[in-house]
Every structure is written in structure tokens, then in C-alpha cells.
Symmetry: C2
Amino acid sequence: MISFTVTPVGRIESPIQSVSSAPRQPDEGAPPAWLVFEPHYRDALLEIRAGDALTVLTWMHLASRDVLRVHPRGDATRAETGVFSTRSPARPNPIGLHDVEVVSVDGLRLQVKHLEAVDGTPIIDVKPRLDQKIALR
Amino acid sequence: MISFTVTPVGRIESPIQSVSSAPRQPDEGAPPAWLVFEPHYRDALLEIRAGDALTVLTWMHLASRDVLRVHPRGDATRAETGVFSTRSPARPNPIGLHDVEVVSVDGLRLQVKHLEAVDGTPIIDVKPRLDQKIALR
């Protein structure tokens, strides 16, 4: 089957420096972080404002891509399940979905809340959350 | 910035045969559709069952990738906005997010409700919806 090329549009800046120190889900204590975009994508950020609810798509570049079964939440006492029924970073295409809230916008830098990604993680897309915003635009 | 390769894990089978006939959002009348996976990914589907609430990630292979501003919902009377504040398929990395419900599972084929993708669209990932299922696993 034909493959496709994903080109990062920016990177995460975060105090989280390693996978082992990252919370598994954002309600488990993720610190504030920044989305830092490449200058080429400036126009794609038009109309994004403080208070917006976004889904950030990342490429989890440290994850293994050849894992098809995992123990849920890394707990070896639990039976293995297919990666498509988990949020494990290990999966054929290691794309992360992160629901965040924009705290502030400074040109190509967006400060956000509730982002559990490791510092340096590539950003590949940003979308408004349907439940929050599509009805308004 | 380094790029990454996305490898499809399956394809959508849908009665929607063209972009112009696709509803813009799934609550606008999307028909039942099937997620059809490659045999290699059989284990990744373990534990997915009828009734599950999933987010399907697709590669919107017909979309333009060099568009950074669009008229919201294609309405030329509305001011252009950045693609990152819309759900337009036209975006630097044309990844679609589709919230679906599994109707039935038949080996490598999952029938789903509420999927607005065009027939033949590549599937690149599947995740459980956090609000529906993570708490149970």
C-alpha cells in the first residue's frame, strides 16, 4: 500500500524531558507547554486565540512502530490488548492526540495547558475541537 | 526539519464516492461505512468490540497540502482563516479525525456509524475515545 510523507509544522517545548517522567494522560498533572511553529506556517495560525480548545496532533518520534499488542498502561499484570484499543505511543503510525487549551498567543508560539508530550516532539497538525468551536465558525 | 513516513493500516469502504457528496461533519448524515484493515495489523485490533467508541485517523489523500488559509466551510462570503482553526481537509498534513461507533466486528472488517470519509480513504491509526473507554481498561 502506498505510503505518505508527514512534514512537521513545529515542535513542542515542554519541561517534560523524558518519556518516563511524562504523565500518561493530561489530567495526571501535565505542566504548561508551548507549541512553537515554523515561520512557513504563520498564516495557518490565523484566528487562533487565547481560550481556544484545540486538538494537537504530534508525531511521537521516540515510540516503537512495530508493536501491535501491549499491556494496558504498561501494567504487566494485565492481559495484552491490541494497540488500536489503547492510547499507547507504540503503534504503527505513532500519532499523538492532545486536547489542550490556549493560554496565550505570541506570534509563532502558543502557550497551552494540559499537554503531556516530551520536549522536542514534532507537531504535525492542529485542529479546533468540534465540541468547542465549529458551531461558532 | 526531518520528515516521517506514514504507512496506511487499512482503507475506508463507504458509499460516499466523491468529496462533493460527503457531508462536512458526521452529524450531517454520514452513512454506515466499513474500516477494512490489512492482515498484518490483525493483532492491533484485539479487544475492539461492537459498541466501542473510537477515533479513526485517516490520510485525506485527495486534499491539497499547500493551503494555509481557507474560507470557513467553503463559504466565500466569510473571511479567510488559518487552516489550523478549521477542520478543512486542505492542510499541510491532511490527517482526518473521525469519531465513530463500532456496529460489528468481522475479522479485519469493522462496520461503523458516523463516518464521513470518501470510499478508499487510507486509515492510518485507530484510538479509543478517552471519554468513553480509557477509564475501563
